[in-house]
């Protein structure tokens, strides 16, 4: 039983983490595609169109990988978490079904048109189709976040006679305050991934003296949008997210911050290693009273530490929670610094000549992926020991009839399958980047193409 819980958690953690490599870039790029297409229309500059087409091709590869790794997630609710599905399907099944009905149909119908229909549609309609793809991607994100937000902070439900939950208010579910702030925070993270990747490819081209006109567009767009997103990530969205945790998940806040003892004027730990056994933080580097101020806007406010709660309410992986939270915040701060310096150089007209800054932009693109992943680990490990916060504990949610062995077997299967997917993805991406934005050839040479409608 204990083994089954651990392996089912690992199973979902692995497939979800791998899956999220793709949507974060898809969602970030979707916005940047609209930006590039808008600039192309307003400036009447073909360079922006060329840039847009290049990123649309990267988008398409990334999107395909997101789809094939996303389908398993919907299945896994039923296969590995049957008790949870039975209890909560009447609520979160709605947002999951809506994602299919409202987002996936939209994206899958218009993606092909965005990639191949530019000539036929004309520039204005092509902008509109690009916008629809963006809308589909961002709507999809909202519906998934609304699902997760309900697990973090259940609202708008009724309890049925057999003890499961059913939706009582449509807007209550969709406008859950957790959903709104989580969404804003998450989407800014996705935009940063898109910006860092776009700027990195631009820097790569500039440093290799290739495709310079487009490279400058990539860097400029990535840095300007990225700088805005990096700041909004911290404030107000990160701050608001923290306030919600402080209100609704107090043991989680204490564990994230490594605060073992309740104190008036709690310090903010910048560094330090949590020692859960002895309930203390080793080698701490702290800012006195800062946690109290950040949480309650008062330097001497009382922040409850882990000692204020029974151990059964503590998140069960405190070191993991503590580190993923600190990695996220640390990287987020680094992004602000990098983007601010790059934006300053851009403003002074020195960015394209600063090789050191271009190297930084080139090498830092993996960091937003790490920060986004760490952020999600913070959210999901922070929700523990509950599956639905306050309502259902994690071990209660698994499929009772699925043997741990079956879950092991399929986890190993997914590891192998996703390794192949990852290699193929990198291979395709490399080919596309190597080919570059100047290529007028579409993703596929046109052989056996569809002819226009005949009826």
């Amino acid at each position: 039983m204990g083994e089954a819980v651990a392996i089912d958690r690992l199973h979902f953690a692995f497939t979800a983490t791998f899956h999220y490599i793709f949507p974060q870039l898809t969602m970030g790029l979707a916005l940047l595609l609209v930006v590039l297409k808008t600039l192309a229309l307003r400036k009447g500059n073909e360079d922006y169109n060329r840039a847009m087409r290049f990123w649309a091709r990267i988008f398409a590869i990334n999107f395909a990988l997101g789809v094939v790794t996303g389908i398993p997630m919907e299945f896994q609710f039923g296969t590995n978490w049957a008790s949870f599905s039975r209890s909560s399907g009447g609520v979160i099944g709605q947002t999951l079904a809506m994602e299919g009905v409202f987002s996936f149909f939209l994206e899958s119908s218009f993606l092909g048109l965005m990639l191949f229909g530019e000539k036929r549609l004309g520039q204005k309609l092509h902008w509109f189709v690009t916008f629809l793809v963006f809308l589909g991607a961002w709507l999809s994100g909202y519906l998934i976040i609304a699902t997760d937000a309900w697990m973090q902070h259940p609202v708008a439900y009724s309890v049925t006679p057999d003890g499961s939950y059913a939706l009582a208010s449509f807007w209550g579910l969709l406008l859950n305050p957790w959903a709104v702030w989580q969404y804003a925070h998450n989407m800014l993270g996705a935009v940063q991934t898109g910006c860092f990747v776009m700027a990195a490819v631009g820097a790569f081209y500039l440093l290799s003296n290739k495709f310079e006109t487009n490279a400058r567009i990539f860097i400029r767009t990535g840095v300007i949008v990225g700088a805005i997103a990096a700041m909004l990530q911290l404030y107000p969205t990160g701050d608001a997210q923290g306030a919600l945790i402080a209100r609704d998940q107090q043991p989680t806040l204490a564990a994230m911050e490594g605060l073992f003892k309740t104190s008036n004027g709690a310090p903010l730990a910048i560094l330090g290693q949590p020692d859960v056994e002895n309930r203390k933080l080793d080698n701490p580097l702290i800012i006195p009273n800062a946690l109290s101020f950040l949480t309650y806007r008062a330097w001497t406010a009382q922040v409850r530490g882990l000692d204020a709660f029974p151990q059964s309410e503590w998140p069960d992986r405190i070191p993991l929670l503590y580190y993923s939270y600190h990695v996220m915040v640390g990287l987020g701060t680094l992004f602000i610094a990098i983007m601010a310096i790059a934006a300053f150089l851009l403003w002074r007209g020195k960015l394209y000549g600063s090789r050191w800054m271009l190297w930084i932009l080139l090498l830092t693109f993996p960091f937003p992926y790490i920060a986004n992943t760490a952020g999600w680990i913070t959210a999901e490990v922070g929700r523990q020991p509950y599956l639905i916060y306050g309502l259902m504990r994690t071990p209660e949610g698994i499929s009772q009839r699925v043997p741990a062995g079956s879950a092991w077997f399929t986890l190993i299967g997914f590891l192998g399958m996703y390794m192949v997917l990852g290699i193929l993805f990198l291979f395709l991406l490399y080919r596309e980047i190597d080919r570059g934005p100047d290529s007028t050839v579409a993703v596929v040479p046109h052989a056996g193409g569809m002819q226009p409608a005949q009826n």
Binding site: G93, L96, F105, Q451
Partner: protein
Amino acid sequence: MPTVWFCLVALMIAVYVLLDGFDLGAGIVHLGVAHTDEERRAVLGSIGSVWDANEVWLIAGGGTLFFAFPLLYASSFSGFYLPLMMVLWLLILRGISIEFRNHVKGPLWSPFWDLIFCLSSALLAIFYGAALGNVVRGVPLDSSGYFFEALWTNFRFGKDAGILDWYTILVGLAAYFALAEHGALWVALKTDGAIRQRAQRIARLGWWGVALLTVGLTLITLRVQPLVLANLTGRPWGLLFPVIAIAGLIGVFAFLRGENTVARERKAFFSSSAYLLGMLTSAAFGLYPYVLPARGGLALSLSIYNTRTTDRAMQIGLAWWIIGMILATSYFVFLYRRFAGKVSSDAEQGGEGHSY
């Protein structure tokens, strides 16, 4: 309200089978109808712009099932754990084989991806059929509403049958033939030249397999699941569904004879769609109000009443579902109209189609 959602979920699954069915079928007959690289690209081109949109119906249908009948979703997905995981892997393999066949060309990899595409399509059809067979036959549910079933035991139909016994394998085979037929008709409709000829020949030959399995399986099913006959005699208007299936089957036969016109090919394809729709709705009608019969008797069976969510949740769902479906249908009409007509077989057409 639960009956409404029973019909809507059945409808979404039927639409999924009709749409993804033809691209799975195109995969099954892929190696048979298309011999040269150019011909194979034409087969892929005929489904290239629509297969992923078709697959969305599976996700949307699954999500709808999840919220309307949570216990059914939980029980069946955990009970069919291993076969479902294999379906997932096959879907992934099939998706990447289409994508890669499209991106990476050459004598080394193209035949490899062609084979993967064909095999994964064929296995998916058989798995879907076997899944339907299990739902009709019933599973060893106990009073908790859950079950565990081995992949196979002794393949004999009976008390300790596994997921695969001779009955469910037969349904899998029937699904294989029916979707191959459906796909062959699609390929014939969308292509020209030698592939079109071969696709028609496969469709004509395959028809006998479909007809034979349909008649045989229907007779066996009436014995395997007495509920079906009871429902049909209890509500005779439900005979409409099998009649649609038979009419579709006869239609395919009739439109495959005589001269080859696009209009007749289209009618043959729509007849095949009617056949699939008729078979699936007959199965749904035959089981209603049960959704997963128990082998231990109807008292343990899952029905729309003991797996449902509340009326309130279902009403909320209906509001957005109707709006969403109007939107989705309009995208599909738009998409299919845009890509209507035959895939051109001349290479380097230079157009802007979604092509391979």
